[in-house]
């Protein structure tokens, strides 16, 4: 362990979407803040493997339906006024829209189509529509078969109608976590990657955080460690909760212009099936629902993948198994103290738990504001910085630009004209800019630029991207990892194996 001690006013532990949003919020003020992340990049944990939905409107009601356990009459259960969690979700979602422009990140709003198979489904849909009206959720309409077909010609003919909610939106969560962190860094916050907290000591007036990368002396600590928030809380003896969750397996398919809206079945208690079109021609099939056995269980299983694939003919007969690009598994987390709400509290002076319960993506910007307010309550002085720059520079996604803009860029920098990733059409200069913006690992490049995201899964571009990264970072390609720590990609140069033993033999 290195003996270096970093001094900071606020240390945020955990660079998921929550921690990254918090550190950006902090960077608006005249203070000294840092983010401590154990992985090789921000958003590499639960954020990376979340389905990317920013719920609005009807999703609150479908979520209430799925979670119904029969304790009160169903309609009353649906009609409950919005709680803090739902309000944070709504506020956060709105902020994503205003931030998309300044953080230079993508957000699409395809809307959600709830599909009805039979009369009972239509009754459920009418009920939900009634509740939506009562709760003043706007942008909701009931559709017949024709209406469904007009929106989604490829859905199974068995669906007789549906409900459309124009609010549902989709983002690529990890790239947003990266964006928040990068903008915070531009504004003076420090981001420490591959830095794992090993222990926290309470001292007089500060906390001493020990990591594999030196120690941090912090007046305030925000625990946004996601899945591991309980373990961080334990270090200061405030763990009266555990972080638990459900494991969810998801598929990524190629979307050949087949699905245009988020699709789901009519919600029923304990059932949720989602088909999510992304901004980049893929389709996410979500998700299985299994108990989480251990926190690093990111495995997919044969049964899980088969179950997800079996939904396709039932919903989208034109989508073939051959369109499968990738599968992954994520977590729907909750804290055991209040499984239905976020745990935002200050159990000790200067120590704040920011433990979110799924869904945690949408509310992140709103939670960040809430946490900063709580820090102020704890005594942190907040003076707005006049030189705060909300704009985060990121190379434009070249292929989506209009022709004149493409050609102007190529004239200024010919590397924009050199395509490196053929599936997602990413140029050499976009890779270089991503590195200059702070990306150090292959996965960060993948999520920032989309290189390696397509159907060939990096088969064509990996060797090219490694070369460009190595050039930018002035290192040799074997030093570059997939996502930090031991995730090396190349073992070494050819003819290097056995060199050590040869050297020994020579002696």
């Amino acid at each position: 362990m290195s003996g270096k001690v970093n001094e900071t006013q606020v240390a945020v532990i955990g660079g998921g979407i929550t921690g990254a949003a918090i550190v950006r919020e902090l960077s608006k003020f005249k203070l000294n803040a840092c983010l401590i992340e154990k992985e090789g990049g921000c958003g590499f944990g639960v954020t990376k493997v979340c389905q990317g939905l920013l719920h609005g409107g009807i999703a609150h009601l479908t979520s209430r339906t799925v979670k119904y356990h029969g304790d009160i009459p169903f309609k009353d259960h649906l009609l409950r006024p919005f709680g803090l969690k739902e309000k944070l979700q709504n506020r956060g979602r709105d902020e994503f829209f205003s931030l998309a422009h300044v953080l230079n990140e993508e957000i699409i709003q395809p809307g959600r189509l709830v599909l009805a198979e039979n009369k009972e489904d239509m009754e459920m849909i009418d009920l939900i529509k009634g509740v939506a009206d009562a709760l003043e959720i706007r942008g909701i309409s009931v559709l017949d078969r024709k209406g469904v077909e007009a929106l989604e010609p490829d859905v199974h003919p068995k669906f007789i109608g549906g409900l459309f909610d124009a609010n549902e939106s989709v983002v690529l969560p990890m790239s947003w976590a990266i964006a928040f962190a990068e903008n915070a860094e531009q504004n003076g916050a420090r981001i420490y990657k591959e830095t794992e907290v090993k222990g926290i000591e309470e001292k007089k007036g500060y906390y001493l955080i020990k990591t594999n990368n030196g120690s941090f002396k912090a007046e305030y600590v925000v625990n946004a460690a996601g899945l591991y928030a309980d373990e961080i809380a334990k270090m200061v003896d405030t763990a009266d909760f555990e972080v638990s969750g459900w494991k969810a397996q998801l598929l990524v398919m190629e979307n050949r212009d087949q699905v245009h809206h988020v699709l789901c079945a009519t919600p029923r208690p304990q059932r949720g099936r989602l088909f999510i079109p992304t901004a980049h021609n893929s389709l996410i099939v979500a998700h299985t629902f299994e108990p989480m056995t251990y926190k690093e269980d990111k495995n997919t299983t044969r049964e899980g993948v088969e179950q997800l694939l079996s939904w396709l003919p039932e919903y989208l007969p034109s989508v073939s198994e051959k369109q499968l690009i990738s599968s992954f598994s994520g977590f729907l987390t909750f804290n055991t103290k209040d499984p239905n709400d976020h745990l935002l509290e200050a159990p000790k002076r200067g120590f704040i738990n920011a433990v979110v319960s799924a869904p945690g993506l949408g509310p992140a910007p709103a939670i960040a504001r809430e946490i900063v307010r709580m820090l102020a309550d704890q005594g942190l002085e907040l003076t707005t910085r006049s030189d705060f720059n909300p704009y985060r520079y990121k190379a434009p996604r070249f292929v989506d630009l209009p022709e004149w803009e493409k050609n102007a860029l190529i004239q200024a920098e010919p590397r924009y004209g050199h395509m490196v990733c053929r599936c997602q059409k990413v140029s050499e200069q976009e890779i270089r800019e991503a590195v200059r913006g702070g990306a150090r690992t292959l996965d960060e490049i993948k999520f920032k630029t989309l290189a390696g995201f397509g159907r060939c899964q990096g088969g064509f571009c990996t060797s090219r991207v490694l070369k460009i990264m190595a050039e930018e970072l002035n290192v040799s390609p074997p030093e570059i990892t997939k996502r930090g720590r031991g995730s090396y990609i190349l073992k070494g140069k050819t003819k290097s194996l056995g060199e050590e033993s040869l050297d020994r033999a020579a002696i």
């Binding site: 495995n299 044969r302 499968l324 493409k406 190529i410 088969g459 990892t481 996502r483 194996l497």
Partner: protein
């Protein structure tokens, strides 16, 4: 936007595209543009530093780079406009092409004819549905080949190779020569996926274990691959979980098949053969669009580069004929159908009056085989699904089918029928 008008635009400067360009030049076409996304022509031949190329076409045993070099040199002596670092981004039904390169920016090509020669890509881990974790250390065999042979880096030191396609077997040998350990080549089928000569020269000669009727059922490792689970499979290809065992390794290579790269064809609306994945073609290698031809692995994944070259040459000649208005079609076509023990057969239809060359792959290996089309017979000592069989039907052979409008290609075992008789 810069606009270029050409007689022939060829997409892809691999062996198919280069051969198409050369034969189009020989057929008298003048204004030819060859579009290539890589920084050099030759396609994947550059990373295929092993020998065995050109045995049929040149009657010589060449390495991949040597084979490519011959065509590159030939091209250099012509007026073919070779655009490197050029990615074609769109291909439209009116045959127009949009491409991007550092020199011209985004530009448009208006060709009178087009040859599609985009080649193929490798299937990924997920196309095979292997569950487990997602660590670093999983590569397609072709990517590993580029890393080792072109870039000079080793992707690992202890390998398991899933699939016994040619690239997988060749990489098994290559990695062994590099001092790495190849623990096993695992193949789900009862026979290897690639050429027999590669099974012998790459695996047996180097004592690399070959596990037939086995598959990888799970991948282990958080940051980097630490091992894989291997199981025996039954006749339907389902793994027998009781036979599962763990094999430690730091790298898993996949050689599980190739897919013709047809995203541009699909964008334009060219009809594809759903089984093979390539465009539906006639004997001139013309697709469902007039004046658009397709050659090499973009049509079907060939066994030998020599065949890809021959395919490319055919399209160059056809394109030249098309531009000159000499590509004569019959009002009534003959559909070509796969029959007994035939997995794939191309072309899909015969539209002209002259002879037609037919390429087929059998379903099951067969000794003492005989390929039949009506009264046409051709005998083979052995046929295997891994090797393409070519037959040539004369105009007189085809006459019998013109009325019916279809013909069926079949493959039977000789001895068996003789015994029955």
């Amino acid at each position: 936007m810069i606009t270029k008008e050409v007689d022939l635009a060829i997409i892809g400067a691999g062996p198919a595209g280069m051969a198409a360009a050369m034969s189009a030049v020989e057929a008298g076409l003048e204004n030819i543009m060859l579009l290539e996304r890589a920084e050099y022509p030759g396609g994947l031949l550059h990373q295929c530093i092993h020998n065995g190329f050109g045995l049929h076409y040149f009657g010589e045993d060449l390495t991949g780079p040597e084979y490519a070099e011959r065509f590159i040199n030939q091209l250099a002596s012509t007026d073919v406009q070779l655009c490197l670092n050029t990615m074609v981004t769109h291909f439209y039904p009116d045959r127009s092409i949009v491409a991007i390169n550092p020199e011209w920016g985004e530009f448009k090509v208006l060709p009178r004819s087009v040859v599609l020669a985009m080649g193929c890509r490798e299937k990924t881990r997920f196309a095979t549905g292997i569950p487990g974790s997602r660590p670093a250390g999983i590569f397609t065999a072709g990517l590993a080949q580029k890393l080792v042979n072109v870039d000079g880096y080793l992707p690992g030191e202890a390998f398991v190779i899933l699939g016994s396609g040619d690239i997988g077997m060749i990489m098994a040998r290559r990695l062994t020569l590099e001092g790495a350990q190849v623990k096993a080549v695992v193949e789900i089928m009862p026979h290897v996926g690639g050429l027999i000569r590669n099974e012998v020269q790459c695996l047996h000669d180097f004592e690399i274990p070959l596990l037939l009727e086995h598959t990888v059922t799970e991948i282990y490792g958080n940051d980097r691959v630490e091992g894989v689970k291997i199981a025996r499979v039954d006749k339907e290809g389902n793994p027998d979980m009781k036979s599962e065992r763990i094999m430690s390794c730091d790298c898993l290579l996949l050689s599980v098949g190739l897919i013709p790269e047809n995203e541009l064809s699909v964008e334009a609306g060219i009809k594809l053969d759903p089984q093979i994945g390539g465009p539906i073609i006639d004997e001139f290698l013309q697709t469902s669009f007039d004046g658009v031809f397709a050659a090499g692995n973009v049509v079907q994944v060939w066994d030998l580069v020599d065949n890809v070259t021959l395919d490319g040459e055919k399209t160059g000649t056809s394109a030249a004929k098309y531009v000159a208005g000499d590509l004569k079609k019959q009002p009534k076509e003959i559909r070509v159908l796969p029959g007994e023990n035939i997995r794939t057969v191309t072309p899909h239809r015969i539209v002209g009056m002259d002879k037609a060359e037919i390429a087929l792959r059998v379903q099951e290996p067969m000794y003492k085989a005989e390929v039949r089309v009506g009264d046409y017979r051709k005998k083979y000592r052995v046929v295997s699904p891994t090797e393409v069989v070519k037959i040539s039907l004369e105009s007189s052979d085809l006459e019998a089918f013109r009325e019916a409008g279809e013909l069926t290609v079949s493959c039977y075992q000789r001895g068996k029928e003789e015994e029955d008789a």
